[in-house]
């Protein structure tokens, strides 16, 4: 009951905003190449769903985002475990990590474009670069933060490096590694949309630019709204999964 009331209170502001926009649009009989009334946006969105174009675009964007996340995330995971469990490796790689990490992922758009041309590979490569770093950094700190007692157990059991990593370190660090992937998933979607908006002719970002360039503000705003919904749904799903699998153990915010 209380939850329902909270949801209602939260809905007041956006609904009021939409109502005002609609009334204003009707009052001035909006005929514009730059703005559209909420009703028109809704109609354009429904049209894009009906002909399936928005669904194809969503599949392309999410495919790129998750492809890049899988690639960059697993590379980041492996490197993070290596650097987290070996102080020597961590210190020796410090300069290389610190000099590559600050490169903004969008700076690689032209590099990837030159190397791969347009398409999925180019976008996945950029997303993978962007997703690699947060996973690397957070996995490294999660692994190096594994309780020393557990490592003693591994030593007593005479586990090899591989068995120690798989049986002791990864399970112990798993909740925080999940947080790393949660963060990286958000970044992956953002970077995918950014690449599409700026260069790559695929997915939600490109369709949104197309709608803008062909003077369909209603469709453009429908895409904007839909991108917001997709981002929110992704975030919500991962948060729910985290609560379900790890309970309150990782409710504390990661030290980035």
């Amino acid at each position: 009951m209380k939850r329902a009331a909270a949801v209602l209170r939260g809905a007041v502001f956006p609904l009021a905003l939409i109502a005002i926009a609609q009334i204003a649009a009707m009052a001035v009989r909006l005929q514009s190449d730059t703005l559209a009334s909420p009703a028109a946006v809704l109609a354009a969105g429904a049209g894009a769903f009906a002909d399936g174009s928005i669904l194809i675009a969503t599949a392309q964007t999410l495919g790129n985002a998750f492809g890049g996340l899988a690639l960059g995330g697993s590379a980041g995971l492996i490197c993070g475990v290596l650097l987290g469990s070996s102080i020597v490796a961590d210190r020796l790689m410090e300069f290389s990590v610190e000099s590559l990490r600050p490169i903004p992922s969008v700076a690689l758009i032209p590099v990837s474009m030159l190397t791969f041309g347009f398409g999925f590979r180019m976008e996945i490569a950029i997303v993978a670069f962007a997703a690699f770093w947060p996973v690397l950094i957070l996995t490294r700190s999660a692994v190096s933060g594994v309780d020393a007692g557990l490592l003693d157990v591994a030593r007593v059991l005479r586990l090899g490096p591989l068995a120690r990593t798989v049986k002791i370190i990864l399970p112990a660090a798993l909740p925080r590694i999940f947080v790393a992937f949660r963060l990286a998933a958000g970044i992956a979607l953002t970077v995918a949309v950014t690449v599409e908006v700026s260069t790559n002719p695929l997915g939600l970002g490109y369709n949104m630019m197309l709608a803008e360039q062909s003077l369909h503000p209603d469709l453009m705003l429908a895409y904007l709204l839909w991108i917001g919904i997709v981002g929110w749904a992704l975030n919500f799903t991962i948060n729910a999964a985290q609560r379900r699998f790890f309970g309150r153990s990782v409710q504390v915010r990661p030290v980035a």
């Binding site: 909270a6 700076a107 690689l108 032209p110 950014t194 975030n235």
Partner: protein, 254 residues
């Protein structure tokens, strides 16, 4: 101390090995030199770019855009965030909307910016300001909402005015959150500055590297990427220094 310097030198050496590998790969022409220039040609392009004045110009344009957009966003974010964070009803009514907007990719508003402002400097600036607003705003809301309630009781006992409460209690105690948000905002600003320049073809590093890629000037492209990396590194380090200075009182406390 000496041990630390030793490790540092070791890590430089590893970095040098990576660069040497890059050079060997480039020399071996496994990948066409059109796509992959070696570090030597990249360095050459950097030197040429600085000698001819193109890189300083582009760098200055991008830095300017990024910093102005970031400052606008930070100011707006702190003010709006403080208003929302201080009032429980405002949080209840606006919180869900903010939570909806938080995961929205900032670059998704670029088309909207183009529609409203055209392909202009103002478009790039407003997109940066809008995109960089959220991390600071949300962090400020969180910081203001999470102020220790005891401190408010103290302020009431002391009969402090509302403004004094904000200035002397709420703002300092939420400063760590705000600065963390501003750091994220700065990263977003750099990204959006580059994207905005690419799309609107405004002079800067973003458009510079895009043009270099389109005209197959790979060394110029790689030099631009290196510069952007340096820029990202320096701004992050600068902000860390400011943060350490502003939060000195907090370290003493522990």
């Amino acid at each position: 101390m000496n041990v630390r310097i030793g490790w540092r030198l070791g890590s430089f050496a590893v970095g040098a090995v990576f660069i040497a590998t890059w050079q060997v790969l480039a020399n071996a022409h496994l990948i066409s030199p059109v796509y992959l220039p070696g570090p030597d040609r990249t360095w050459g392009a950097l030197v040429r770019g600085f000698a001819s004045g193109t890189f300083p110009d582009q760098l200055w344009n991008t830095v300017q855009r990024m910093l102005v957009g970031w400052l606008l966003a930070s100011l707006a974010g702190i003010v709006i965030g403080a208003c929302i964070g201080l009032s429980r009803p405002a949080r209840a009514y606006l919180g869900p909307t903010l939570e909806f907007l938080r995961p929205l990719p900032a670059s998704a508003v670029v088309p909207l910016g183009i529609v409203l402002f055209g392909l202009s400097d103002n478009m790039v600036l407003s997109v940066i300001a809008f995109g960089a607003l959220w991390p600071t705003l949300l962090a400020t809301v969180h910081g203001f909402a999470a102020v220790e309630p005891c401190l408010y009781e103290v302020s009431r006992a002391l009969g402090m005015s509302r403004l004094a409460v904000i200035w002397k209690i709420a703002l300092p105690s939420s400063l760590p959150d705000i600065l963390a948000g501003m750091r994220l905002s700065l990263t977003v600003s750099l990204i959006l500055a580059v994207v905005g320049e690419m799309l609107a073809s405004r002079p800067g590093l973003g458009s510079g590297i895009l043009i270099a890629a389109r005209t197959f000037h790979a060394p110029d492209l790689y030099a631009g990427v290196v510069l952007l990396g340096v820029l990202g590194y320096l701004t992050a380090q600068g902000l860390f220094a400011v943060e350490a200075r502003l939060l000195r009182w907090r370290l003493h406390q522990r």
